[in-house]
């Protein structure tokens, strides 16, 4: 295509300028270079492959880890005028899957889950299509989720070879040097790295030490009452997210709702739309919420539970303050909070003697146990018992290291931003009053323009259902 990138941007999206990072990534791809783009949440990563797909014939194949999000992504593509987009994952009904596969040549964008992509029939079918670009979305999942959650991500390198090494774009919001190397290694690529600072200067960082669960809840309630809204509270448990949403509604008269993978598609859709339309003040979420939520004015992100690593933490707090206005990320930490991520990590990981027993008698184990499922996956791919044992041991060390970095952040008596950015091999800016409040420093909401101005609620007259219904049309 002879049209310049900026001219394409103008024609397709009506923008005059790229956001930082977008142009560099596109130029690298146009030069035929595999590209790893590390751009903060909200930088417009999707636009990169949308524009590339527009400029080049063939199909852009996007591998995406979150099933619940894939259909949202397709809807979003369609809204942007890219009608020839579809998604296939394990939730796609058989008939729909068949329909998409029969019309593969007409597609400009195809979203696939790693599980689907690793099926040989799917690969055979994809061989008959021109793939203009392979996109690995949320590429950090290769490292974070790989061995103990979604082993199919580990096959992506081999799959890429089988697809004859198409031009590849790896996208993530956060990746330190080690993660970058691991992504490149797994995908058997030597990408051009395009990176923007992960720092978000308008997000004030705060860690609050609380004595126990009861104090934590009381502090949460206090914060929600006084902080500027809207906000997101992250939990590691679906049940606690739901319970807290209800509790906040009833005790603090907050318009709150829960969002997690246990909700059906209709409820998730409605909660998202309510939040976008400012009809909710607070979302009580698990990590299922966020990827793909475009809301500029989120004023606070609170973590009720300790995340397993700083990369997840950075992803989740990145949802605050996309409009550049003062926002805050608060981590509530009680002694021993690291036990929960530790336990969640361990529950996925088989012990050495389980591995040994499984390899000795593979048929005498129930395949629906997630640990056994994982072991069966490795065994079926010809990986030896010794190699699997080593893999899990090294994975455990990595996880423990990542968790210890997170704990060090929580316990840090000095600048939090420094701790955070150093983990991503970035040089932190000089600390000042607008930077952070570690656990030993109280949070002064007023000084940072974070206090909620109590609004006088004008009582809205309730109208009858007939009128409400008629207004819809």
């Amino acid at each position: 295509m002879t049209e310049t990138l900026t001219a394409s941007l103008q024609r397709v999206f009506g923008f005059d300028q790229f956001r930082s990072g977008q142009a560099a990534a596109l130029e690298s791809l146009e030069a035929g270079q595999d590209t790893l783009a590390i751009l903060p949440t909200g930088a417009g990563k999707t636009l990169i492959y949308q524009l590339y797909g527009y400029r080049h014939p063939g199909c852009v194949l996007i591998v995406s880890p979150l099933l619940s999000l894939m259909n949202d992504q397709v809807d979003r593509m369609r809204m942007n005028g890219f009608k020839r987009a579809a998604a296939i994952n394990s939730l796609t009904p058989f008939g729909e899957r068949l329909h998409i596969l029969n019309h593969l040549n007409d597609l400009q964008f195809l979203f696939l889950s790693p599980e689907m992509l690793s099926q040989s029939q799917m690969l055979d079918r994809l061989h008959q299509v021109t793939i203009s670009l392979l996109v690995i979305d949320e590429a950090h999942c290769i490292v974070q989720w790989g061995p103990d959650f979604r082993p199919e991500y580990l096959l992506l390198g081999a799959i890429r070879e089988k697809l004859n090494r198409p031009l590849t774009l790896m996208l993530t919001a956060t990746a330190g040097k080690q993660t970058r190397q691991e992504i490149a290694k797994q995908l058997r690529s030597t990408p051009q790295v395009v990176t923007e600072s992960v720092n978000r200067p308008n997000i004030f960082l705060d860690v609050e030490n609380v004595a126990d669960e009861a104090t934590k809840q009381a502090r949460l309630l206090d914060l929600v009452k006084h902080l500027q809204r809207p906000g997101v509270i992250y939990f590691s448990s679906k049940q606690q997210a739901s319970d807290t949403a209800l509790w906040l509604q009833q005790t603090a008269e907050v318009r709150a709702a829960a969002y997690h993978a246990g909700l059906d598609a209709e409820d998730r859709f409605k909660i998202q739309q309510q939040f976008m339309a400012d009809q909710l003040d607070v979302i009580c979420a698990t990590s299922a919420f966020g990827m793909g939520i475009d809301k500029d004015n989120v004023r606070f992100v609170i973590h009720y539970h300790l995340p397993a690593d700083l990369e997840s933490y950075a992803q989740e707090i990145g949802r605050a303050g996309r409009d550049g206005q003062p926002s805050v990320a608060i981590l509530l930490y009680a002694p021993g909070d690291e036990q929960l991520p530790l336990a969640l990590g361990q529950s996925n990981r088989p012990e050495p003697d389980t591995i040994q027993r499984y390899y000795a008698h593979p048929t005498s184990f129930a395949a629906d146990d997630p640990q056994i499922h994982l072991l069966a996956f490795y065994r079926n791919h010809g990986i030896s018992q010794a190699a699997v044992t080593r893999l899990f041991a090294s994975r455990e060390r990595e996880r423990n290291h990542a968790l210890s970095q997170m704990v060090a952040y929580a316990k840090s008596p000095t600048c939090l931003r420094e701790k955070w950015l150093q983990a991503f091999d970035e040089e932190p800016p000089a600390h000042d009053d607008a930077c952070c409040a570690p656990g030993n420093v109280p949070l002064d909401l007023a000084a940072h323009n974070l206090t909620r101005q109590a609004k006088v609620l004008t009582p809205t007259a309730t109208v009858g259902w007939q009128e409400r219904l008629t207004r819809l049309f």
Partner: protein, 346 residues
């Protein structure tokens, strides 16, 4: 499902098996489930809680037990309300759907999906919104709504749809009209979730769902009129409540063939033919089943002499040996169904 909701499906006068109720809600259609579903007067609930897990009612059972509202016969795996429970439940407000006799004849879940998307598309169209997120639905629903919208759109669509919906909902209790209205997604209205509707109406999710089933069925019923704006979209979701294969078997038997002939011709087992017939007998009105040929008067007379008393207590194994030798379980069951239909008709 909460304890009080399950309680409404139980009785103080009849032992009811929890697995039957669970399978009915989850849409596990076996002859046994259908037969007992009919005995419990719960057939309309068939397939209306597909998302329920196996054992998904056990918590509610335990809660009712804790309140001493029911007794459990662990051997028979049956439940019965205590007098205390029956009294408490009678005082618990519960929704009485008006369209319940139509539920087995409509694919309510599909109708609801189509209705919600059609309302959203029409609402956004009426406000000239070109870009919006469509509700997340399956591809079939999207296709049908797209087709419908393509031929229905025009300057009058929005107002005629609004008018039609108001007319339908006005025939139902106000709380049902409220819930139906607030669940819709459209211009400037994201729509409320089940949880939010339950909270706003101080009731349980199941009670909200009953209202939704009622509202959807009422709208689909009105849409049978050819002038109704949703006629082409919802009309095809009315159905005969038995499987296509059972319909075929029934047609062949009604045409006068004997059961073994039908089995040979259709290349299915005789036992499958009998299952089809029992399903049809349970699900269809008395007059739509060829009782006179399949269960002739002489057979009825034999059974009449052999079994008496409460239908629920009848047992094939308790029949005299001579009866068991002459008649398979199939005839015993069919006779019971015929008797139930007699009671309903009377």
């Amino acid at each position: 499902m909460e304890a009080s909701d399950l309680g409404q499906l139980l009785s103080a006068k009849q032992d009811r098996r929890i697995r039957v109720i669970e399978n009915l809600l989850r849409g596990k259609k076996t002859v046994s489930t259908l037969y007992w579903g009919q005995r419990y007067h719960l057939l309309p609930l068939l397939n209306l809680a597909k998302q329920l897990d196996r054992g998904g009612l056990d918590n509610a059972v335990q809660e009712l037990q804790r309140r001493h509202w029911l007794t459990v016969d662990t051997e028979q795996k049956t439940l019965r309300l205590t007098n205390q429970g029956a009294q408490a439940l009678a005082e618990t407000p519960t929704y009485q759907p008006q369209t319940v006799d139509q539920w087995v004849n409509l694919d309510i879940m599909a109708a609801r999906q189509r209705l919600l998307l059609a309302v959203q598309v029409t609402s956004q169209y009426a406000h000239s919104t070109a870009r919006y997120y469509p509700l997340a639905t399956d591809q079939k629903t999207r296709q049908h709504v797209r087709q419908w919208f393509h031929s229905a759109k025009g300057p009058a669509l929005a107002s005629s749809l609004a008018q039609a919906l108001v007319t339908s909902l006005a025939q139902l209790p106000a709380s049902t009209a409220d819930i139906m209205t607030d669940q819709f997604t459209g211009f400037g209205q994201p729509g409320l979730t089940l949880d939010q509707l339950a909270l706003a109406h101080q009731t349980t999710i199941w009670q909200v769902r009953l209202r939704q089933f009622d509202g959807v069925t009422q709208i689909a019923r009105d849409a049978r009129h050819p002038e109704h704006p949703l006629h082409d979209l919802l009309g095809p979701l009315w159905r005969v409540p038995i499987s296509p294969s059972a319909q075929e078997t029934l047609a062949a038997v009604s045409a006068g063939r004997d059961l073994q002939q039908v089995a040979n011709r259709r290349q299915i087992k005789l036992s499958t033919v009998r299952e089809h017939l029992l399903e049809a007998a349970i699900m269809l009105p008395l007059t739509d089943f060829p009782y006179d040929s399949v269960l002739p008067q002489s057979v009825r007379t034999d059974f009449q002499a052999a079994v008496q008393g409460n239908l629920d207590d009848w047992q094939y194994s308790a029949l005299p040996q001579a009866m068991q030798a002459r008649y398979d379980f199939f005839y015993f069951r069919l006779y019971a169904i015929w008797r139930i239909k007699q009671e309903v008709t009377a």
